[in-house]
């Protein structure tokens, strides 16, 4: 649906790499061009009209995001360069100062690198212990497995809301409720969920959350960090400079601004924030529940049609959600992707930044199709037609 809003689709490409980044609708592109064309000034700095407009649009986007994820106040939203920066700020700005040697962090082997490496580095630095919640045979998380993984040293659970390879929606509400009973904080990597399914931080009782605009029709290089106010207020800034200080005279006399500004040093990605705000408006117009229902149905169609192919292995057909991971027998995942590109079909091949998942899947490289609302049955038919070919490998060589 809404295909006409995406200029790139006029080129005839079939875009199935939405887990990596989504396409951008014209309204988002226009909002950024409008900023650069008509009020390209700094925010929070000037006393003149175009700067005041930049400031108000910037803060309006924060307000929109607050409503979109149902945060308590807009001060709980900090703009970052994306989920990766948000997760790094959570680990290095908060947990580095509140965890002690031998404290345990629970993650899974299906996490994205950005939710594994910061914790590994913290293990190297201060001696925390990174442990894994075992996945079920469908490669998902069960509350049972979470409960069995918790010890009296567990202080944090850090997991994606939706995993980027398997695509399962984790039972966050149950996990968080149980974790809080045990005094455990929960960090949520929501890169694949915000803008795809309804995310309500209050209902889920999320402590910390990371998100990216570009995975929900927004621009690249912008995202946000959400945390409950008291937790967010304890995050130590790792960037100091303009915009985040009130006054300073010497190292003993520095006053920083309140949240959220104290965590947004330097001139921000103003065009990005404005584009992010527009992407939220756009998704609200379509309706997040409509998006979820549409992509769930499309995934079912995708699975049904792909099953017509004899030599295909699908790794997550029973999982609801918009991601499907597969291989064609005897064809290396990257060769399949290169072959499909000849038909202007864009898919992802490889490990999908989840390099620990090999241990669980028993297979290293896969092809991933990740759907969004502008995909349609015709896209899927084109994919299936292309894959119904016993010369995929031969044609992928390109000689």
């Amino acid at each position: 649906m809404n295909r006409e809003d995406f200029p790139i689709l006029e080129s005839g490409i079939v875009y199935f790499d939405n887990g990596a980044t989504t396409l951008k609708p014209k309204c988002v592109i226009d909002s950024m061009v409008d900023y650069y064309t008509n009020y390209p000034s700094n925010a929070h700095r000037g006393d003149y009209k175009i700067s005041l407009k930049a400031s108000s649009e910037y803060e309006l986007a924060r307000e929109k995001l607050k409503d979109f994820i149902n945060a308590e106040t807009k001060e709980e939203i900090v703009f970052t360069s994306g989920s990766t920066e948000s997760l790094n700020m959570i680990v290095n700005g908060y947990f580095k100062y509140f965890l002690k040697e031998n404290d345990e962090v629970l993650i899974t082997k299906a996490e994205h690198a950005s939710n594994i490496l910061p914790w590994y580095e913290l293990e190297n630095e201060i001696g925390i212990k990174v442990n894994y919640i075992p996945l079920t045979k469908d490669h998902t998380i069960s509350l049972e497995n979470v409960k069995n993984s918790i010890t009296d040293k567990t202080k944090v659970i850090s997991i994606a809301h939706i995993s980027n390879v398997i695509g399962d929606v984790r039972p966050l509400k149950e996990i968080i409720s149980y974790a809080h009973e045990k005094g455990i904080l929960v960090v949520v990597d929501a890169a694949q969920s915000v803008g795809h399914i309804n995310v309500d931080v209050k209902d889920l009782d999320i402590d910390f959350m990371a998100m990216s605009a570009h995975k929900m029709c927004g621009p690249t290089g912008i995202g946000a960090l959400y945390a409950k106010y008291d937790l967010l207020d304890k995050i130590k800034p790792y960037k100091y400079g303009g915009g985040m200080n009130v006054a300073f005279t010497d190292p003993k006399n520095i006053q920083y601004m309140d949240l959220p500004t104290k965590l947004e040093a330097g001139t921000q990605n103003i065009a990005g924030v404005i584009g992010f705000g527009k992407a939220i408006d756009y998704i609200n117009e379509i309706g997040i529940d409509n998006i979820e229902e549409y992509t769930d149905n499309l995934k079912k169609y995708l699975v049904d049609r792909l099953k017509e192919i004899n030599n295909i292995n699908i790794y997550n057909e029973n999982i609801e959600g918009s991601t499907l991971t597969f291989n064609i027998d005897k064809v290396f995942a990257q060769d399949t992707a290169i072959y499909l590109d000849k038909y202007n079909i864009c898919v992802r091949s490889g490990e999908h930044c989840a390099k620990k998942l090999d241990d669980e899947l028993g297979i290293k490289n896969t092809v991933r199709v990740s759907l969004y609302f502008y995909n349609n049955k015709e896209d899927i038919d084109k994919l299936v037609d292309a894959l119904k070919n016993d010369k995929i490998l031969e044609e992928s060589i390109g000689i």
Binding site: Q334, E351, E394, G398, I399
Partner: protein, 140 residues
């Protein structure tokens, strides 16, 4: 060589690669070559005796172009002196980079003579042989 024959040679070497599987023999020197930009990853073993390449083995996961070129390179380089091997590799690099090269020296490796037309795959066609070259230089 016509394209059908090239494709056949590439596919044969991808599906049944020459000397795939590592040995526990300690007299081999070992190395790893992986691509930082894609998912190709090779472990390579080399045995040199009296300046002659006695054996090369490999293992790992890689695309059809990378695997087949590794396989063909191995079959081409075994039995050569280090100097002969480095000369073949140098000519292969020249072919990939569209420079003047000695076609007769490369034999089957010329199946990749047109790979420059797909710039993103030049790396696939050179990953294995570059890994072998690193090991040969270590052995010298």
């Amino acid at each position: 060589m016509d394209n059908n024959l090239k494709r056949t040679i590439i596919l044969e070497n991808y599906e049944k690669p020459f000397h795939k599987g590592l040995t526990n023999d300690e007299s081999y020197i070992k190395g790893n070559k992986n691509s930082q930009t894609c998912i190709d990853n090779f472990d390579i073993q080399l045995k040199v005796n009296n300046n002659i390449i006695e054996d090369i083995r490999f293992d790992g996961e890689a695309c059809a172009i990378a695997t087949s070129s590794m396989s063909i390179s191995i079959s081409k380089l075994i039995g050569k002196t280090i100097e002969e091997a480095l000369n073949i590799i140098e000519n292969y690099e020249k072919m990939i980079n569209e420079e003047e090269y000695d076609k007769d020296l490369l034999e089957e490796l010329i199946v990749y003579e047109d790979i420059y037309k797909q710039p993103s795959r030049k790396k696939c066609a050179t990953l294995g042989i570059e890994g072998i070259k690193d090991l040969i230089k270590n052995a010298k």
